[in-house]
Symmetry: C3
Subunit: 360 residues, 3 copies
């Protein structure tokens, strides 16, 4: 493992992640990726530690990824699925978490449909002065940091497999397309991509990308100035603002909003698509999946606007023929989707390792 300074007890959000922290995760994940290519894919690092997957909102995919990561580190795992659980009857979520704490859990991986639950549990653990780590596995429409970190790892290892690091994305144009308003994946990705110096172009129908959305990222901890943000007029489509030369007094805009797909795709290096919840239609935020696909679905034709080597990401599961055309999804020349899943195990091993190895 790379020697690093890692002082974080919890991974709840990427809003305050430092470049050093991103690089530590990327490099640690790279060494685990190497472990995963060996015949024996298991290391004894977390032997005797207990990783509890507390999934108040069910997600087989993410839970399996964390479970396999924990097992490859030789940790013992406990699975809690709210759907089939008799817990939480009358007690609060903090009570449930404290029960798992008292049983000797070392790391809690938490998913909840309400934003802020992992933060609240982490705050309570800190208040109690215990060494338990909390890892946010997706909370409401807030964040999903391990997903954004695996996206980052997937892209960076594509660019430089031997030495993935944040600065590799500097100046890259990355489009994020889809239901941005409701997406915790988008929020976490925006933090990491802005931190990397990439140009982040958001594209969605206005109902899924309100103009005010961007303010969230200027009001947050780092107090970014509004100049980070540029908004593309909806019609006619404009090319993205060409970045002004960087200077300390006037930062380059990094976050661009588009209500049409084309300006976001124009010359893009990477296209991140987001899962569309079908519930959005019943809420009248979308006319139809068919129309959505016509306007914002990624197809081979639309990709011709991008850089020649453009790659497409999706956090999965994909609604085939909605966010991405079915043939494109299966085309390894363009799709990084399988690679993201594989990266997920390495990145989650890295996070569990970084959180768990300090528990001596």
């Amino acid at each position: 493992m790379p020697t690093t300074t890692w002082n974080r007890h919890h991974v709840l959000s990427l809003a305050d992640f430092t470049t050093a922290e991103y690089d530590t995760v990327l490099q640690t994940a790279a060494s685990f990726q190497e472990v995963l290519s060996r015949r024996t894919k298991k290391v004894p690092t977390l032997q005797g530690q207990v990783v509890a997957n507390l999934f108040f909102e069910s997600s087989t995919r993410t839970r399996s990824s964390f479970e396999i990561a924990a097992k490859r580190l030789s940790a013992d795992t406990l699975n809690f699925a709210a759907a089939t659980s008799s817990m939480t009857k009358g007690e609060t979520i903090l009570d449930t978490a404290k029960t798992y704490l008292a049983m000797g859990t070392d790391i809690m991986v938490i998913r909840h449909r309400e934003a802020g639950v992992p933060n609240a549990i982490a705050a309570e653990m800190d208040r109690l002065g215990v060494r338990v780590s909390v890892l946010n596995a997706g909370d409401g429409q807030h964040e999903h940091p391990s997903q954004a970190l695996l996206d980052l790892f997937t892209i960076c290892t594509l660019i430089d497999p031997a030495n993935p690091r944040l600065e590799l994305l500097k100046g890259k144009k990355i489009a994020i397309v889809g239901d941005i308003l409701h997406s915790r994946v988008a929020r976490s990705n925006i933090w990491s991509l802005i931190a990397s110096g990439a140009q982040v172009h958001l594209a969605a129908p206005p109902t899924l990308l309100p103009k005010l959305f961007a303010e969230y990222f200027s009001e947050e901890p780092r107090a970014r100035s509004q100049e980070l943000l540029a908004i593309s007029p909806s019609s006619p489509p404009a090319p993205p603002a060409s970045p002004a030369p960087s200077s300390s007094s006037s930062p380059t805009p990094q976050l661009f909003l588009h209500w049409q797909l084309e300006p976001a795709l124009q010359d893009a290096d990477f296209v991140m698509t987001l899962r569309l919840q079908k519930e959005r239609m019943t809420a009248h935020l979308l006319p139809s999946l068919r129309e959505y696909h016509q306007l914002f679905g990624i197809t081979r034709t639309k990709l011709q606007l991008c850089k020649p080597n453009v790659k497409v990401l999706h956090p999965g599961p994909v609604n085939r023929g909605v966010e991405i055309s079915s043939d494109l999804m299966d085309d390894p020349e363009f799709s990084l989707i399988q690679s993201q899943v594989t990266s997920g195990v390495a990145v989650r091993m890295a996070l569990l390792y970084l959180l768990g190895s300090g528990k001596a």
Copy 2:
């Protein structure tokens, strides 16, 4: 591990537990508590053995506690949850148990909503002459021995951490408050507390504590004489009968029934509260949770009747503000609730160890 004589193949009830058996469990749990404080919390004791958690009635909390205990002993675990199972279609519960037997299960941890199921399975295993152990993890309104043993361990280690043993409770006054009639936890606790020589004061509304309740404990195996029992008149509240000097010809009363809370709390050393099932209200056994809390809920004010160092227990999950006031539950000066959960893992390790280590 302490050297002990332990000849029990199953743990089904505490009704016939001997003092030596209680002490063996307490001392074995104490040594596992020590293991749990080490950096590597795992021992290879049950490597290769299979512990099947057969939870015909779901309970995430108890199942997780047994699962973590089994994993810390290096056993392999199988989880069976009736809710999501396709088994038991057409076959009997004994057939299901025999299937797990035939697969090579060494210890079956069984929860069922009907009293007597673990006993029936254990009897069948004995009839077949196999070395499988059955551990009752709660059967109907009958018993929940591992819960009572962890309560006992929690109290005894508080009194003497280095040497927890049954006699530490001799003469202590312990109140059990709540839905005693329907509680398997209360029944198991009454057996262990009477065996310890403690004074056990039950307090509940008459609908949840019929006068006949106490007869159960005089008719059971040890054939206790009726003199063990004293009944406090409902109104006006009377102080608990002061124990007469112990003599071999006339045993001191040990079990006291109260239909008001105050006489049970008066000078109590420990207060065990029980979970109130909200179904009791729909069955008209209770007027309202609010009134229940007013009359039988434990609050800071009511605790002033007890000994100054009184501690409160609850098997969890707590209905906050019903059985216990919310602030009291979180006050480490009074609440042993977290400590009970931690004790649970050590005590269940002890039970699995004692049952499993004879399987050579």
Copy 3:
């Protein structure tokens, strides 16, 4: 482990199994049966490998058997139960399988209510050129090879515990009784029994055993000639055709169809009963369970038609008093049911070992 040549990447069907392959499974299972009789029942063979139980159709019994087999080989296991899963929302089953592939799964154990799903997944894995193995744990009304192999192992070890092999069944008369039309267990068993040279007598009501059924086995890969098949007239019951001397030009009939129970039982060495799905009645394929039991249920009296040492098998769970009378099911003189469950773990260890040990 016996030294063998095993070149199969997947176990999907027994239709094309060779005698050498059957014998390899039987001998490997026999060595694991020996491991299971040791004090430490675990071997490190598959350490670091991941076995994913992808049960799109739930089956606690079969899943537990595979899980315990995998754990005894020291593999890590992942359980996926469609019923409680949020996966497969919008994605195809192949997408789900590819996700588990990308996470690093080595062996996928798949059950699905549709015939052909494991084959489709295996074909996709082969197309991708990956070394993942697929094991069919029951697909629709197609096949359930591990069940038929454990039935075979149970019978062969009964005849020659030290050296179970396919040829032991040559010339034996084996009756398969029950809902043959809808049974994947029957189909897999028919392949292995025909391969062994046994005489296979099917008995069921005409609604559960159409005359055309047998054609399936003549049209399949080995292109058996119609002469393999003999059909017994429904009334009056005829004795089974006595096998003609074997010759290369005219093979002995091996598959016999009966619409009454008696000719199938006459002089049978083994009776395989099948689980009756109660849904068959609502589909008017059966008049009543009572009548079914009267006509096709196996009882002590009816067994008198068989060879004196006849044994009865059932894949479980049994509908007591329907397929088999309750007392017969529990009589170890006749019933092999418990033995089948135990064999199941050894046979599944053998299959996982044979598939997994080539993954160096």
